[in-house]
Symmetry: C2
Amino acid sequence: MSDGFTVGDYLLARLAGIGIGHMFGVPGDYNLAFLDHVVDNPEIAWVGCANELNAAYAADGYARVGGAGALLTTYGVGELSAMNGVAGSYAEYVPVIHVVGSPATAAQRSGASVHHTLGDGDYQHFARAQAEVTVAQAWLSADDAAAEIDRVIATSLRERRPGYLVMPADVAVAAVARPAGPLVVPPPDASPAVLADFTAAARALLSRAESLTVLADYLADRFGVRDEVVSLVAAGQIPHATLSMGKGLFDEGDPDFVGIYAGAASAKPVLAAVEEADALICAGVRFTDITTAGFSQQIDQERTIDLQPFAARVGGRTFDPLPMGDALAALADIVAGLGRSWPRPALSLVTDEDRAEPARLADSPRLADSPRLADSPRLTHAQLWPTLEGFLRPGDIVLTDLGTAFCGAQFMRLPADVTFIAQPLWGSIGYTLPAALGAQLTAPGRRVILLIGDGAIQLTAQELGTLAREGCDPIIVVLDNDGYTIERAIHGAESAYHDITRWNWALLAAALSGGSVRTAGAGTMEQLTAALAAAADPAGRPTLIEARLPRMDMPEYLLTLGRWAAAANDPAQAA
Amino acid sequence: MSDGFTVGDYLLARLAGIGIGHMFGVPGDYNLAFLDHVVDNPEIAWVGCANELNAAYAADGYARVGGAGALLTTYGVGELSAMNGVAGSYAEYVPVIHVVGSPATAAQRSGASVHHTLGDGDYQHFARAQAEVTVAQAWLSADDAAAEIDRVIATSLRERRPGYLVMPADVAVAAVARPAGPLVVPPPDASPAVLADFTAAARALLSRAESLTVLADYLADRFGVRDEVVSLVAAGQIPHATLSMGKGLFDEGDPDFVGIYAGAASAKPVLAAVEEADALICAGVRFTDITTAGFSQQIDQERTIDLQPFAARVGGRTFDPLPMGDALAALADIVAGLGRSWPRPALSLVTDEDRAEPARLADSPRLADSPRLADSPRLTHAQLWPTLEGFLRPGDIVLTDLGTAFCGAQFMRLPADVTFIAQPLWGSIGYTLPAALGAQLTAPGRRVILLIGDGAIQLTAQELGTLAREGCDPIIVVLDNDGYTIERAIHGAESAYHDITRWNWALLAAALSGGSVRTAGAGTMEQLTAALAAAADPAGRPTLIEARLPRMDMPEYLLTLGRWAAAANDPAQAA
């Protein structure tokens, strides 16, 4: 106990032990003593961000690529600023350990009106708030710190959701014994009997199916069963698709990959494969409004095998507990045993008669059809997305901010081993710029491409400077279309509240980075192609390409989504 | 009911009725239908900010000058981003009405996994969190919206703390009757018998006192009794002081104004007046660590009349209920009846023997004493503060961010009618830049001076663009000293974690404002004087002056505070 090893060191050892090599945050006086140990730790690098929300986003991006992330803030002001970012990690199953440096235990006991409190002597306000967006919480004391750190980190990893650790300034430097061994993360509950029952039910369903499709989504990524999903589809050459939140799970160049399923807004081959197959295996699927064009999915439960992280369903029957990985392995065995392949559904399965496009989509104006734009030399979304698709390489990390960027990018066909990061459920605009910082720091050998709107980047623009300072070299394409175009799609297209303050992106990048960010403007297809070619092999410097798009031009999916959201929000429009 | 008047209109009418002319926020699809009514409202202007935290700070700054503020965010992502700002309003008694546009009632009832939820069907997570930092909350329905809006706003005004209103997208546009009359804010509870008892006890204490001092603090400002406090001190030419949070309550050029009380770090005349007078009247005083050099105040309760917003104390006896304004009026009557004046305490009341400076202050290094700095032509804090003090004019609004800016500025002697805005209890750095936006919009005829550190401004720098867009013309002095100097004062002065990414302020201002911000750099006293002279009469354009200061130069008060905070945080240093 007396070799100078502290609670802070213990926490860092546990974080390093689960593969975390960077901690994001902002210093504050309640976490400074701990920060001494962070900067001295050979395994964990400190990455100071301009503010705490940005740091939370960075830790989330780091965790999506590296498996887990770490965030350090100060009590009250810092932790609340970060809360939206942590909530996003909770909503989308990303394990980020949020460490909060708090006033010393003595101050808390006295209820003193110290800075960063509400002045009412109640030091628990923020812990109660944070419990709404974290899966495990602890307020550390010198007596229980090691056990509580282990409990919170293990729960966070098991549930793939953020954990919250308050570390008082005195506890951070209190002596503690070194970890006796690696952190034990309890595996998901399992039952051989349940697995056997599931296997029998699944075999019965699959044996009578003439067609089969696998639909995977983000929980398959988050719960670490990507290899098992890939093995399953390989076992029978099964046609497969993902929702956009699960994009990147498959090599999208594989002949059996049919595309992105987005409910009624899916391309027809995808719609046929998912909604018309005799059997459908859903792996880690959660339907949300943004990924299904407004809950327009039509999935017949009776022909579906639905795998969730800790349980499964075959038709109407639930199998619990059943870890997703075990279920996938069982299904691969069944498929291999059936000894057949599953052809891609014929397009004729869906005819225009039996599945017309939803009326609201058919009614949508198509800006690309307007004579002005068709004849225009200006860059449009119709040109942008094929160009960007062609720019991608195997192994890239692609981040797309919710808005025009996500709505267009989700339908790009990805090369192998591309990580696709988006946040369509939580949907906090500006998230991806700091997330790119985190993603790149955990995968320094990979190329990072960030697609973000001009409204969104204004929320978090400070981290352009951090990216440059840390030697990151993302290729950032700012979709500059004069405001919040996703919201123009929903309501009040020409309303002044969608306008944003005009910024000069080249000057901004120079101001924040000491001139190390390379910039280019692209108002035409030719300019975009040239800018991308020049940026294709970044060498330690970020690139910012300003893609100037017409204010009301947008991907077709965004038009669909906007119509749905308008109807959902406004009873007067729902008629 | 059928004239098209909606719940949103009702809310706007109530906000306008309490003097609110601007609403700050960020659009999101759940608040767009309401925003149509905001932009159409002739009494309330929409001010879109770059992000929600900045908008919350702006609404807070607006409320500190104008009496109340309004903030509009979207559900989940937006409201959580704003939460740190709202918590600051709560801690420091600032009534901001936080309106959150939420998913429509039907979506909530179904528990659908719509965007900006946590995906678990529980729509109440964020309301529970926000209840920790607001004094009244309501989730509006079409049935009860008017009554609930009135209740939340009235409670917020009465308690001078933020209120939280969730307005589902459908409720915002539901029909409702126009307000039947002005909003009724219940006055504080009062009792003639309690007032009589208080008056008797106070008269007894004051009658036997040879010396008397009034010490006022921020709650006197927040609860609207500034005139009563000023009348009290005028009634007997009573020596008076404020804590730094109450700075600006008095004309600091008045001969009876003795200065800023900051516990043991006070100038000796102030220390004598406050701690040694026979009687002390505290008006709206709350002692916090930052305003008392670490709780170093020595106030004898037995000789103190302590007035709080809703109750008072004379010696050890409590009088409840007793509104502060009533108590102040009673005291003014007593003082007038006594028919004498109260001389300023002689300096000799405090000798070096009986009140040595605290050891920790005497031990502190004084960078100004170092030969290098004394001989240096570089601008130092010793030059900065007298220069800025001389720059002030009656009626200015001065905002100082917590850090070197606040620690130096609190001791400047203000001309009459200066509003001094700081946040020393909540202490969220970066707060003052957006707060300056709010402050100036509610008082367009007044000059606004913002003093902020280079670390702090990075958190919220986006609003430089909003200031320029809105035609504001603050004079912004960035104290550029290469990082978080307030934290260097506390711990690890040379640690890398206090460093920030270097920004180019002139380029930044140009990037965000289309070149409309005037900029100047000042590395010497002469340059600062020239830059201030050029900026003295802004004409619709912001000015940004970069005051380059040595990294470890700092106001003496910050050294004192840093030592205290280090000891409070780190048991190893407390010996």
